[in-house]
């Protein structure tokens, strides 16, 4: 795995040297990375995974103050690595030659490096560095190629998520310092720091300070109410390939933070924090669903839908860790599955919207209308994406939402009706959006529009097939996630 990672770094660096044909280069490079991660996962995770971290490597850089570069993959981070490889590949191939400048492709490849780094690092220093590395290229993507208000929005995105990062860094230093106090050893290793027996020894105030720092950073990325303000603006202003990366790639970081970083120390967190997380999850679900309903632009509406879907993840994390027995396993695995499913589905939706926007020039529901008549293929893909997003069985979104909703009753009781209410609202505005933009009489002002051609259909179809296969054969990754969760609780 480390080799693949080094290759991605080289690949991204080398991309600056390619002139003229950088899109093709990026297609091949990200395709290669996708293939390599798939091969790696097949070899290492096809059978015999028993939980925990595998493929561990450690490099001492300055061991006296605990700076080491250590890497490793769990079943969960491996699925996320595959997911981000898929999303990056998709975001590259949906663009067309000459539409965007060359630097876009370099930024995308750097984002891939950052994402891989976040998922691979098993020590906090490099985790933090890669966490920041992801931000920079995405900032540039929005600032250079974005739409309306791109300057202020990209700045807002940067500052907002950066505040979260600062608290993450503070939290990291807190646990680092107290580890030195307790044992006399400097270390950034997660395997040393993220241990219940150690965390519970930190004085209460500082422990909660550290937990607050971690949670704030992850919830900003998630995003969760009330720290979400960057999201709709950024999704809206970003160019479509950027939105695909934001929705499919960056959204996993918050979820990974919860399930990958914080889950091992859940016993120290206490039920108060879990209750808070569950409450935030439910509030996010309802709040984002209701806010989405009134949005005019499909892109912005789907940004809220994406945030609402991540509300399920927050909810499942809180609920799964206060439950016990088979419910807890179902809940946690469902939450992790939801992260993957959400990434794939949002990538499909935003890619389809990109093509619709390209052929019609609009993405507001009221300026479209009846386009099924002229562009049946694109409309079908958008409908499929919307249905997947509202959790229709047979598609990937269902497995995650089903596991979460069915498992959650043990933790929240009749508050489940609030979740159901949000799901009904979600279904309503998805179907309403489909009806307004796809069906009904054709909006003749659009003139003649182009439907998807062969290659476009193939790209979107590939994505839909992945979503469909995961919806029908969830055990491809569900087992891995379950084993990973079982190794901790």
């Amino acid at each position: 795995m480390l080799i693949i990672f080094l290759l991605t770094i080289l690949g991204a660096a080398f991309s600056f040297a390619v002139k003229g044909r950088r899109r093709e280069y990026a297609v091949y490079a990200s395709g290669l990375f996708l293939a390599l991660t798939l091969i790696y996962s097949l070899i290492r995770f096809h059978s015999g995974y028993t939980g925990g971290i595998i493929s561990q490597e450690t490099f001492n850089l300055a061991s006296s103050i605990g700076i080491v570069f250590s890497t490793g993959v769990s079943g969960f981070s491996d699925t996320l690595i595959i997911l981000s490889a898929i999303v990056i590949f998709l975001s590259v191939i949906i663009t067309e030659n000459g539409k965007y400048g060359e630097s876009l492709y370099s930024y995308i490849l750097i984002t891939e490096v950052g994402l891989f780094g976040v998922l691979l690092s098993r020590d906090f220093l490099f985790f933090y560095i890669f966490w920041e590395v992801v931000l920079i290229p995405v900032y540039f993507i929005v600032a250079q190629y974005g739409g309306r208000n791109k300057d202020s929005v990209s700045l807002k995105f940067f500052v907002y998520t950066h505040i979260g990062s600062v608290f993450l860094l503070l939290a990291i230093f807190t646990v680092y310092t107290f580890h030195y106090e307790a044992t006399g050893v400097f270390t950034f290793e997660m395997s040393q720091l993220m241990v219940n027996t150690y965390i519970s020894k930190i004085p209460a105030f500082w422990m909660y300070f550290a937990l607050f720092g971690f949670l704030l950073a992850f919830l900003v990325k998630m995003p969760s109410f009330p720290v979400h303000s960057w999201l709709p603006d950024t999704y809206d202003a970003a160019p479509y390939p950027g939105t695909v990366i934001l929705a499919g790639g960056l959204s996993i970081m918050g979820g990974y933070g919860l399930f990958g970083i914080l889950m091992p120390i859940y016993r120290s967190m206490g039920t108060g924090i879990m209750d808070l997380l569950m409450a935030l999850g439910i509030i996010s679900l309802i709040y984002f669903s209701l806010s989405a309903m009134m949005q005019q632009s499909l892109k912005r509406m789907m940004a809220f839908a994406s945030a609402a879907a991540m509300g399920f993840v927050t909810l499942s994390f809180g609920a799964g860790l206060v439950e016990s027995g088979y419910q807890a396993s179902l809940e946690l695995a469902g939450g992790m599955f939801q992260i993957v499913a959400h990434g794939l589905i949002m990538a499909l939706i935003f890619s389809t919207l990109y093509y619709i926007h390209r052929s019609t020039g609009h993405d507001a529901t009221h300026s479209l209308g009846g386009i099924f008549r002229e562009a049946p293929i694109l409309s079908s893909f958008l409908l499929a994406g919307l249905l997947a997003s509202l959790g229709l069985p047979g598609l990937a979104g269902f497995i995650g939402e089903f596991s979460i909703v069915v498992g959650v009753f043990g933790a929240i009781g009749w508050f489940i009706m609030a979740v159901i209410f949000a799901m009904i609202i979600t279904a309503s505005y998805h179907i309403w959006a489909a009806q307004k933009s796809l069906y009904g009489p054709y909006n003749e002002r659009l003139g003649a529009i182009r439907d998807a051609d062969g290659p476009t259909t193939a790209k979107l179809m590939g994505m839909l097939i992945v979503i469909f296969v995961l919806g029908v054969v969830p055990n491809l990754i569900y087992g891995l996630l379950l084993t990973y969760a079982g190794g901790i609780i």
Binding site: I136, F173, P393, I420, Q435
Partner: protein, 634 residues
Amino acid sequence: MVSMYWPGWFIFISPLLGFAFTYVVGRYHRNLSGLIASLAVLGSLIASLLAFFYVQSNGTVYNSFVWFYNIHAGIYIDHLTLVMALMVSFVSLMIHLFAIYYMKEDPNKHVYFAETSLFTAGMLGLVVSSNLVLFFLFWELVGLCSYLLIGFWFFKPNASAAAKKAFIVTRVGDLLFLVGMAILYSSLQGYTGLGSNSPLSIPFLIQNAQAIASYVGPSVLGTVAVLFLAGAAGKSSQFPLHVWIPDAMEGPTTVSALIHAATMVTAGVYLVARVFNIFYYSAPFALYSVVILGSFTALFAGIVGLFVNDIKRILAYSTISQIGYMLAAIGLGGVFGYGGVSFGMFHLVSHAVFKALLFMSAGAILIALMDLRDTRYMGGLWKRMPMTVTLLFIGSLALIAFPGTSGYFSKDTIISASWVYYQHYGTVQSLFPWLFLATGALLTTLYTFRMFFRTALGKPRSHLAEHAKDPSILPLIPLFILAIGALGLGVLQGSFYGFIDPSYTMPSVPLYIDIVPMVLMAIGLVITFVLYGTSIWQRMDFSKNWLYKLGKNKFYLDYLFTNIIAERVIVPLSASFTLFENSYNRAVDNVGTSTLKLGDFFRRIQNGVVENYFIVLIIGVSLIFIAVKILGLM
């Protein structure tokens, strides 16, 4: 694990293959699409027949494997499944054959046949699935197909609005069903009898229902059952979630016949029958709510049906009402045990046959009348389309339970059974089912023959009706087959009841109770003939009467859902959230602007973000080091 019984799987795999083939081949050869889809459904029928003989000799089939975690997927075939699978594949085949004629002009008919084929696959998959989660998957798949097919003529604004309404209303029921599963799943935790079973496996639930009830408590299980019933009410369009079906008539008539009359809407009844033991062993309020919901809906939809003029919508209300009878029959299981299920299922089968017949003959009429659906402008069609209208007549007779037709055997048994139910308990609230159901018999006759006489007798009241002609006999063959079923299915009554429940007892009631529905039916026939067989109805004017207004507006339920709940509650709620979101967003922006002194920051950003980034990073890091220092001192 036992070896797989492949014909059982083939029951729903065949139309699934049909879906793919129909779509792919149909793109190039439109005319083959109907044939391929019909063949695929025929495959299901044959597979169901094979399974029938297999189960007769070898007993129940149960194959399953792990789907994810402790959720299993598989097939479970017992007598109940067989009845439903045979009915669905047979009726679906008949409707597919008729649709070859009905849809022959449509440019997108390959899509139509692909979707009906997929629907049939979903319906049969639902019937044979062995786990509630898989059941739910197919349950939603048929809902999706219903959505797509209602909106098949997507360019009609009415059709796409109806599709939307159908999807959202049934979604409400579906999610309540999901809550039921959630409660069941979490309350079964720690149950020692679970073994290696999935907590939501259907055979596990129905075989251990009694023990489960004592483990989780009868009232908890009753709550689960009521939530399942809510799901069933959404799918089977029972009060108050029935509002989507009349609008769904905007789809092609064959779709109405297949999905909104014969098969999909009975899925809710099938769900209740499938997990009947859960209802039976939980607290008594579970089964009572089934019987009261069913009988009340039977009455309610009958009343509303009296005020409708659209021929398809009249049939839609009659579907709602008849499904009410089925649910009520199952709810009577408190007295009759599993026999209640056999009464309900027999009415389900006979209803599927005669309602498919009614819808398709109405479809044939609509083709002749260029989709004019208002019965006020028909009239005199018996002379002009003798074959079609005779078929409609046979269907109508079966619907009002005319003695000798299949409807008589299936429906009057239920009404008699509800009297036995009253005698068993002797309380006032146990009399309601009989009252509602018997009154329903009168209403059924009234709305059915109001529709029929207006259509068939008198003088044509529009240009289109004057020139209507019968279609050729070939497309009507499936209708003749169904008509034979509608007339003759009654002979199977006893063996059918015995097939579902070997220990059933026929309800025996005094003669004066037994003839009540028949007398009411006769009264209804006389009233409708006097009013609608002649032209008296044209001179009647109730438009000032408040009762008439109440019925005409469907008791304002549609108004309540669309205009009050959706437009006056949800939309303002959402608007206020959006308003809050916008102002919150602006507040965040303002905080950012004022603290960071945006203009200043901006200029530096444009010089190079990376530098700026490092400045922020350094500030951050130095803050940390200060913190560390302080920590060290403490």
